[in-house]
């Protein structure tokens, strides 16, 4: 089954790889190496004095209750975002799969939120839900709900979870829809002839066959919630109230850029790097293996 393209020399394949390699080295390996180096150093903001401190930055992080709180927030946030971004998109995909007329219009509209940058999504949700000037926010207050995510930690977390999940639904929708369309119609028709109800057909046939897609999306969504939601947090809550919405990647930015603590921030990025490597490894082990290239 294995297919190979045979090049006559080595130079040509290397030449073809060069652009991609340069991009990878400049934008991935080089910064990663710098983060590794800075994570074991203590340096003032201007780089006037640098001191090797070994694992002190890491020790500092794990002794910092704010960091541990941030780990907890990140896990709650990512799991909630992943679940809330996956379930509605599966429902929408199943619905859209049945639509006959105007299917493309529905699909385009459903995918649209994915085209919005996280920062813009954050601003949109801010203008909707701010207790003072948000349209929905002031409506909630008018009907007697004490809506004030500036002080209420649970409301704040809920808001950023919804905003982050909403943005990801379009992406998940696309994959689910593709997954659904790849399921042979004959299987479903056969089940229908055997008398299986619609919900039984879905749970016994469609859902299991979608499992690889679902698992892939679960990993992608967790990675998204961990790393790509900075713009939402920055624009809606800035990590507050207290530290209720301070996820790990926000803290990396905050300590490094606002706080100018390069060593501590680099050490946190190294930990995040380890997390993303682990997630990618899981994905390859369980998902990519089943994918058949050829």
């Amino acid at each position: 089954m294995e297919r190979r393209v045979i090049f006559s020399g080595r130079l040509f394949p290397i030449l073809l790889l060069t652009p991609q390699l340069i991009v990878t080295i400049v934008f991935f390996f080089w910064p990663a190496a710098q983060a590794l180096r800075q994570s074991v150093e203590r340096q003032d903001a201007f780089g006037l004095s640098t001191e090797f401190v070994g694992a002190a930055n890491f020790a500092g992080i794990f002794a910092d209750p704010a960091y541990l709180a941030s780990v907890e927030v990140s896990f709650v946030f990512s799991v909630a975002v992943a679940v809330l971004a996956l379930m509605p998109s599966l429902l929408l995909a199943v619905m859209a799969d049945r639509v006959v007329r105007g299917a493309n219009l529905y699909k385009t509209l459903l995918v649209l939120p994915y085209a919005i940058a996280p920062a813009i999504a954050g601003v949109l949700w801010l203008f909707l839900f701010n207790p003072s000037f948000g349209i929905v926010g002031s409506l909630l207050r008018r009907v007697g709900i004490d809506w004030n995510y500036l002080l209420d930690a649970r409301q704040a977390l809920l808001l950023v979870i919804l905003a982050a999940a909403w943005k990801q639904i379009g992406y998940n929708f696309l994959f689910f829809l593709a997954g659904l369309q790849a399921i042979p119609k004959s299987l479903i028709e056969a089940a229908a002839l055997d008398g299986a109800s619609a919900s039984r057909r879905f749970w016994r046939i469609v859902f299991p066959l979608l499992a690889p897609t679902s698992f892939f999306l679960l990993v992608v969504n967790i990675v998204y919630a961990f790393f790509d939601t900075f713009g939402v947090i920055q624009n809606v809550t800035q990590g507050g109230p207290g530290q209720a919405t301070q996820i790990l990647v926000y803290k990396v930015w905050y300590d490094g850029v606002a706080g100018l603590d390069l060593g501590g921030s680099a050490a946190q990025s190294v930990i995040l790097m380890a997390i993303v490597i682990a997630l990618t490894a899981i994905q390859f082990r369980f998902v990519e293996r089943r994918v058949h290239y050829g």
Partner: protein, 438 residues
């Protein structure tokens, strides 16, 4: 070939023979964080300076928010490409001061460039923030403001209050706020820049230490001290008022200003530089007055402290560039220019002469309330509790304070526990800063 081209170019752009012989003006890069009307002022100043002489050319470059500008300056310095002049907000002062090798102190710059420079010409309440403990000015104040109170006269009338009598003390503030609530106003008062107005300004105004070592002026081993009984009592009162919305927290930085402009809150404590925003945005009459104080605190009111930004000169430039920077600073300090800046932007004048000239011009008589910030800052000679703050990592310390205040206002912690926690976490950051610079 070459001389022909040169001559042709010179002729084409209309240079005289002398013009072609003299060198290009020395460029002086000025990175700033001013937006909208204030950005226009920055560009106007640069244009005026460039038109007034031909040896130097000020090039203003907008670099984003204060924090972004500071980061851009630091990153550029690390890459060896820093600007000549960098605008840094007041909370970045300690970081800049600690970076001894990276900055050129203003007093030395002026001396070496041979520019006349008398630090006594500047308002001490402003320059104190940017000077060493022994009075050497390290950066040039550019835009300075202080915290004041704005009140909505229409809402005062609605609540049956005298619209021309704002509260003078904190007990009066809470009483008036409660009356506003009773009259159906959604929020009695709010405060922007919560740490700055309710802890930093509050401490200076009541002559209390925010931190030890003269609020950090006497050394980087200063530690926070704002968990004292007076501040704790005040925060507890705010938290109690939050319950019935006679006080309503609205965010960590300038967000609460929206609650005042929209007519939601009857009063706000925020920067004097918000004047223009309110003037343009508010559909009601408002007034400005001094910050309230607790009459039972001895020595109160003392004087308030400044916010805003100053201009830092980066190290490693040529003597010629430094000469240009020095000439520009002299230009900036001119009375007429300072007076105009003060009147247009709502920031404070930085020299005594500019203040006097504004007074004599009758500006304050025509715009009552615009003198409040200066009067409040210069009411008494500053003590070691009211010169300003000189604390490292102050950006994060402010956020820590805001985090704990949010917990207190939400009723999750009491005021003492919240402030103790902020002191503890803030002190860890001060210790970290101290370790880094020593």
């Amino acid at each position: 070939m070459k001389p022909v081209i040169l001559a042709a170019t010179a002729a084409a752009v209309g240079f005289s023979a002398i013009g072609a012989a003299s060198a290009e003006p020395t460029a002086v890069q000025w990175w700033h964080a001013m937006t909208a009307a204030n950005a226009a002022v920055v560009n106007q100043i640069a244009d005026d300076f460039n038109a007034a002489q031909s040896e130097y050319k000020i090039v203003p470059v907008f670099k984003g928010t204060y924090a972004e500008t500071m980061n851009a300056g630091i990153a550029a310095y690390r890459a060896g490409k820093g600007p000549d002049i960098l605008q840094i907000f007041e909370v970045g002062t300690a970081t800049m001061m600690a970076a001894r090798g990276a900055v050129m102190p203003v007093y030395r710059l002026m001396k070496e460039a041979g520019e006349a420079f008398d630090r006594n010409a500047y308002l001490p309440a402003v320059t104190g923030y940017y000077s060493t403990a022994d009075g050497k000015m390290l950066s040039l104040p550019f835009n300075s403001s202080t915290a004041i109170v704005y009140w909505n006269k229409d809402l005062f009338k609605k609540a049956g209050l005298d619209p021309d009598r704002p509260p003078k003390t904190w007990p009066e503030t809470f009483a008036i706020a409660a009356k506003l609530r009773t009259a159906g106003v959604p929020c009695g008062f709010t405060a922007a820049w919560i740490s700055w107005t309710q802890l930093e300004q509050f401490s200076a105004w009541h002559n209390l230490p925010f931190a030890s070592k003269a609020d950090g002026f006497d050394g980087p081993d200063a530690r926070l001290e704002f968990n004292n009984p007076t501040v704790v009592r005040h925060i507890a009162k705010l938290a109690a008022a939050e319950k019935d919305r006679s006080f309503d927290y609205g965010g960590r930085t300038s967000e609460p200003e929206g609650k005042f402009v929209s007519g939601e809150c009857g009063m706000i404590q925020t920067s004097s530089a918000a004047y223009g925003i309110f003037k343009n945005g508010a559909k009601f009459e408002f007034g400005t007055t001094e910050l309230p104080y607790y009459p039972d605190v001895p020595g109160a009111p003392q004087n308030s402290i400044i916010g805003g930004a100053s201009l830092w000169v980066m190290a490693g430039k040529t003597p010629l560039e430094y000469k240009g920077v020095a000439k520009f600073f002299t230009f900036l300090s001119q009375t007429a220019l300072q007076q105009k800046l003060h009147e247009v932007t709502g920031y404070l004048p930085i020299t005594k002469a500019a203040y006097d000239a504004t007074k004599e011009s009758g500006f304050y008589a025509k715009h009552p309330g615009r003198e409040i910030p200066i009067l409040q800052m210069t009411a008494k000679p500053p003590t070691e509790n009211s010169r300003g703050l000189r604390l490292g990592n102050l950006v994060q310390i402010r956020d820590i304070i805001a985090q704990d205040l949010e917990a207190v206002f939400a009723g999750k912690e009491d005021a003492q526990a919240g402030l103790d926690d902020a002191v503890k976490r803030g002190n860890a950051l001060l210790a970290q800063f101290q370790a880094k610079i020593q």
